[in-house]
């Protein structure tokens, strides 16, 4: 019974004490903490880290193969591969002479900072200059997860269509650089380069946009130059 007026309010309601806690913190706090620790680990070893994101089949692994070839003997590269299943991509990277660790997520649609942390321990970081994280092929979820990378690069193949930046804005907003790939297929695709570039710039004015295709040495040179300038060791 209530002490003040004698009403029939039950004791447990009277005794219920509520504490309001204002947190105003990022929902990704746990992941972000781990990502920051990954970045510190990489910085300590003097390694620059690039997170590659795109839909499946837009040329991430091919870009890595060409990058390893072009920088062979100059820059030491390691790769963390993310896929739902198989070691295929890690094998392709190892065939080029670079160390690679394959993360298979089973059903998870993105890599997170914890998975990358485990992956980093499988790479000889003290011997490396540049680490690429090849994220799960997916234009949605990977954008939400910081991994400890220094920059994000998003790939968009001309076969995917010039409206993809508008349809999947989050991942193009997260990019420091967007590479439009498979430009050698432009004659066979209904892909308006200017339209694609305009929407990328509108979403993300700071993003650098680069064009790359099979046999395109100019585009590759620009990319290699960009990577080489990032080396801190």
């Amino acid at each position: 019974m209530c002490d003040t007026c004698g009403c029939a309010i039950t004791d447990d309601v009277l005794e219920e004490k509520i504490l309001t806690v204002e947190l105003l913190e990022d929902l990704m706090l746990e992941n972000n903490r781990q990502a920051e620790s990954n970045r510190q680990h990489l910085d300590k070893e003097g390694v620059f880290c690039i997170n590659l994101m795109s839909s499946p089949g837009s040329g991430k692994t091919t870009l890595l193969e060409r990058t390893i070839d072009a920088l062979s003997g100059k820059v030491k590269i390691g790769v963390i591969e993310g896929d739902l299943e198989t070691e295929n991509d890690a094998q392709r990277i190892r065939a080029k002479g670079a160390p690679a660790f394959q993360i298979t997520t089973g059903t998870a649609c993105h890599l997170d900072a914890k998975m990358v942390h485990r992956g980093l321990h499988h790479l000889p970081l003290n011997e490396l200059d540049l680490v690429f994280i090849e994220n799960i092929g997916n234009l949605v979820c990977p954008a939400a997860y910081a991994l400890g990378e220094h920059i994000n690069v998003t790939l968009l193949a001309v076969t995917e269509g010039d409206d993809k930046a508008m349809k999947y804005p989050v991942i193009f907003r997260a990019a420091d650089m967007v590479i439009i790939t498979k430009t050698d297929l432009l004659p066979y695709c209904d892909f308006d380069v200017q339209k694609a570039e305009k929407s990328i710039k509108l979403l993300n004015p700071k993003a650098q946009v680069l064009m790359l295709g099979k046999g395109d040495e100019k585009g590759l040179d620009e990319w290699i130059d960009f990577c080489a300038k990032k080396i801190v060791k």
């Binding site: 509520i18 504490l19 806690v21 929902l27 746990e30 939400a144």
Partner: protein, 115 residues
Amino acid sequence: MHELSLIQGLMNRLEEVVKENKAKRVKSIWLKVGPLSGAEPQLLKEAFNFFSKDGIAAGAELHIDSPLVTLKCDKCGAEAQREYFTLSCTECGAGLPISDGSEALMLEQLELEME
């Protein structure tokens, strides 16, 4: 797709906060989920129902504030608030900048039931 792991992360954080405050359980949770955050409020709620069947947040209420995107056209000055975002001004067709806060994914406030 990643709403399940977001809620799993939230659950871990709730455990921490309950422990820090020596509380009994979580009564209410307030999230802010921007339209460009990459997470869907409805899917977050479903994931929360799944993970909060028992434990410290069983029966807790999840409130999700989904702010509208505020867009102001640079050219004609028209302002618009939308649940989704578009790239061009409906008044004059010019490109629209995207407001800050549209990527927010925040744990804003909790109500804890104390011992």
